[in-house]
């Protein structure tokens, strides 16, 4: 298989958020940014410098920040809150539930340092449950972009969606491979590689890992379809069902607990519409620990060899389970 994707450069997805926010600031006067003492980590400095009157430093008080964001929508502002994913979700779940989701507030909850690749700070900060928490909330849009360019495009796109959005991105420098010119469409998956033997549905940092796996599988004669589900809610049911009908077996890959995340969402769609064997690449009901991001991805089974193993397993299941019918 010819290499379909080449690395443009290597960047952190949080910087994609910062770049998108700055661009939005210039084009949309209603966009307001809030942080809870992590503006620097979220790469919000450029927005803060350019639009100080539209930047609200809330201090280390995330619950109040969420409430202020909800209040800012009264009068038509479009608030973007920025803090770590752990403090953007679990810490403030009831504030999001009542003041934002139930109240239909147009707040964009932007969450960095999501998942295990937060690294050395350890499990206290490595939230792996946030996609599950957020996708349970009625009306909440949940997006987990895969690289700098997609994160930037998503940051800009969500301003046009009226309603609450959870935008999840990360800390490490990773391959930036999607087009800088892309238009981000909420809820519309992206076909990165067409194949016939298996489908890999992937999100966030696991998209590049899936493409790496796809190339290695091609050398073994396996044609893997790779579909990027950047929007976990609302999920692209049509694309999921169509691909499952074509390949007959599925691997999901995400930097999140296997409980509650992308895998669950895909399994829900397929169990109702077209049940096929599925294997789940994700963290298996455990907390993380300190370490370098790449070391942690390996130890917790989130690397491309783990995706390859899952593909081989699910393809074997497809053969035996189909034979059993």
């Amino acid at each position: 298989m010819a290499k379909k994707f080449t690395v443009i450069d290597k960047k952190d997805t949080r910087s994609g958020f910062g770049a998108g926010l700055l661009e939005l600031g210039k084009t949309n006067p209603n966009v307001v940014a809030l942080c809870a003492d992590l503006g620097g980590s979220l790469k919000m400095d450029a927005f803060q410098k350019e639009f100080p009157e539209r930047f609200i430093q809330c201090g280390v008080a995330e619950a109040n920040m969420m409430g202020i964001a909800a209040g800012l929508t009264i009068g038509g502002k479009i608030p973007y809150t920025g803090t770590f994913a752990n403090f953007s979700t679990g810490r403030v779940y009831d504030q999001i539930r009542q003041s934002i989701a139930y109240s239909h507030k147009n707040v964009k909850i932007c969450a960095s340092h999501a998942g295990i690749t937060l690294g050395e700070d350890g499990a206290t900060h490595q939230i792996l449950e946030d996609i599950g928490l957020m996708r349970m909330l009625p009306g909440m849009v949940v997006i987990n972009p895969c690289d700098f360019n997609q994160t930037k495009a998503a940051t800009i796109a969500i301003a046009k969606h009226v309603g609450p959005v959870y935008l999840r991105f990360g800390r490490p420098v990773v391959p930036n491979f999607t087009s800088p010119e892309q238009t981000f469409e909420i809820g519309k998956s992206i076909m990165f590689n067409e194949g016939k033997d298996v489908t890999i549905f992937c999100t966030g940092h696991l998209v590049w890992k899936s493409l790496e796996a796809c190339e290695a599988l091609a050398e073994k004669g396996i044609e893997a379809e790779v579909i990027n589900i950047h929007t976990i809610k609302p999920i692209d049911e049509t694309a999921i069902i169509r691909s499952a009908r074509k390949t007959g077996c599925i691997v999901t890959a995400e930097e999140h607990q296997v409980n509650g995340g992308l895998g669950d969402a895909v399994a829900h769609v397929l169990s109702k519409n077209f049940p096929v064997p599925i294997e789940f690449v994700g963290v298996k009901d455990s907390f993380g620990e300190s370490g370098k991001p790449e070391e942690l991805m390996k130890k917790y089974g989130l690397d491309s060899p783990d995706i390859i193993s899952a593909v081989e397993l699910v393809m074997a299941r497809k053969r035996t389970e189909l034979a059993a019918f």
Binding site: N64, G67, I74, Q98, S103
Partner: protein, 284 residues
């Protein structure tokens, strides 16, 4: 709408609002009459005298209108009564309070589209932060109208309240007037027994707030203090009013008793209560 400043007239409205509270909670056989009765004068002063608002043309954004947010959402009966009596919706709708398919949810919500409500409240401690945000939104919009917020004194036990108080003081949010209903009661008993946290006024002052005090069951004093608070806005200082009230005020057997925080009157109790409250504007 033009504000009513005649004390006799405002007292007549209070009497009817109290009847509405008793009738709504009795009709639903649930709800929170105690705090609602205690805050009646405040709500009547706000909705019939002070607020610059458009009850018949409600918009969530409230541009160029004063905005009110009820942080202690459980006293929804008093709010629903003044909203409907001031023209936000038909008074007949009060009979649906807490019933299936109603816009008058147990705690205030925007979800069913009830005019007058701008955010859901009930889980305590959140409304004050939302009010702060609404005040910042007005500043960004160069809208010189004000944001009013009511909190309970039991609610002061929530940590988020102090995050918002810290914020309001530090950022000098001077287009907000926050009133705290100081009735000294919460569900499980008196505040001095449950969580004796001491005086509120110096706590707010230490965060840089200007703090006024008033007797919340004296309509003339409520009007006077709210006017004074309004005159103090725009001076680089957040404003709070510690409003002393009597839980259950206006109904003798409910007065100053935490047991009426969240219990509805039965048939006989409702009858007794209504006999103490004159029907002035016509029951719904």
């Amino acid at each position: 709408m033009s504000g009513i400043s005649d004390i006799t007239e405002l007292k007549r409205i209070c009497s009817q609002v109290r009847r509405d509270i008793i009738r709504m909670t009795h009709g639903a056989q649930s709800g929170h009459p105690g705090g609602s009765l205690g805050c009646t004068e405040f709500f009547v002063a706000l909705y019939f005298n002070l607020l610059q608002h458009n009850p018949r043309k409600f918009s969530i954004d409230g541009i160029n209108e004063d905005i009110f947010i009820l942080s202690n959402g459980h006293i929804s009966p008093v709010w629903y009564s003044v909203l409907s009596r001031s023209g936000y919706f038909n008074t007949k709708e009060m009979s649906t309070f807490r019933k299936i398919n109603s816009r008058l949810q147990g705690h205030p919500a925007t979800h069913e589209g009830l005019p007058g409500i701008r955010v859901a409240t009930g889980s305590l401690g959140q409304g004050l932060s939302v009010a702060m945000g609404a005040a910042l939104s007005k500043k960004l919009n160069h809208d010189d109208k004000l944001v009013y917020c009511l909190c309970g004194d039991g609610e002061m036990e929530e940590g988020q309240i102090w995050e918002a108080v810290m914020f309001g003081g530090a950022k000098k949010v001077d287009n907000i007037i926050v009133t705290v209903d100081v009735n000294g009661q919460q569900i499980d008993g008196k505040i001095e027994d449950v969580m004796p946290y001491g005086e509120l006024k110096p706590k707010f002052e230490s965060f840089g707030w200007k703090v006024l005090e008033m007797n919340g069951n004296d309509i003339a004093e409520v009007l006077e203090t709210l006017d004074k608070a309004k005159s103090l806005t725009g001076k680089k200082q957040a404003i709070a009013i510690m409003m002393k009230t009597e839980m259950g005020h206006g109904v003798d057997f409910m007065r100053n008793n935490f047991k009426w925080h969240g219990v509805a009157p039965n048939d006989e109790q409702a009858k007794t209560a209504l006999s103490q409250l004159e029907e002035t504007l016509g029951d719904y």
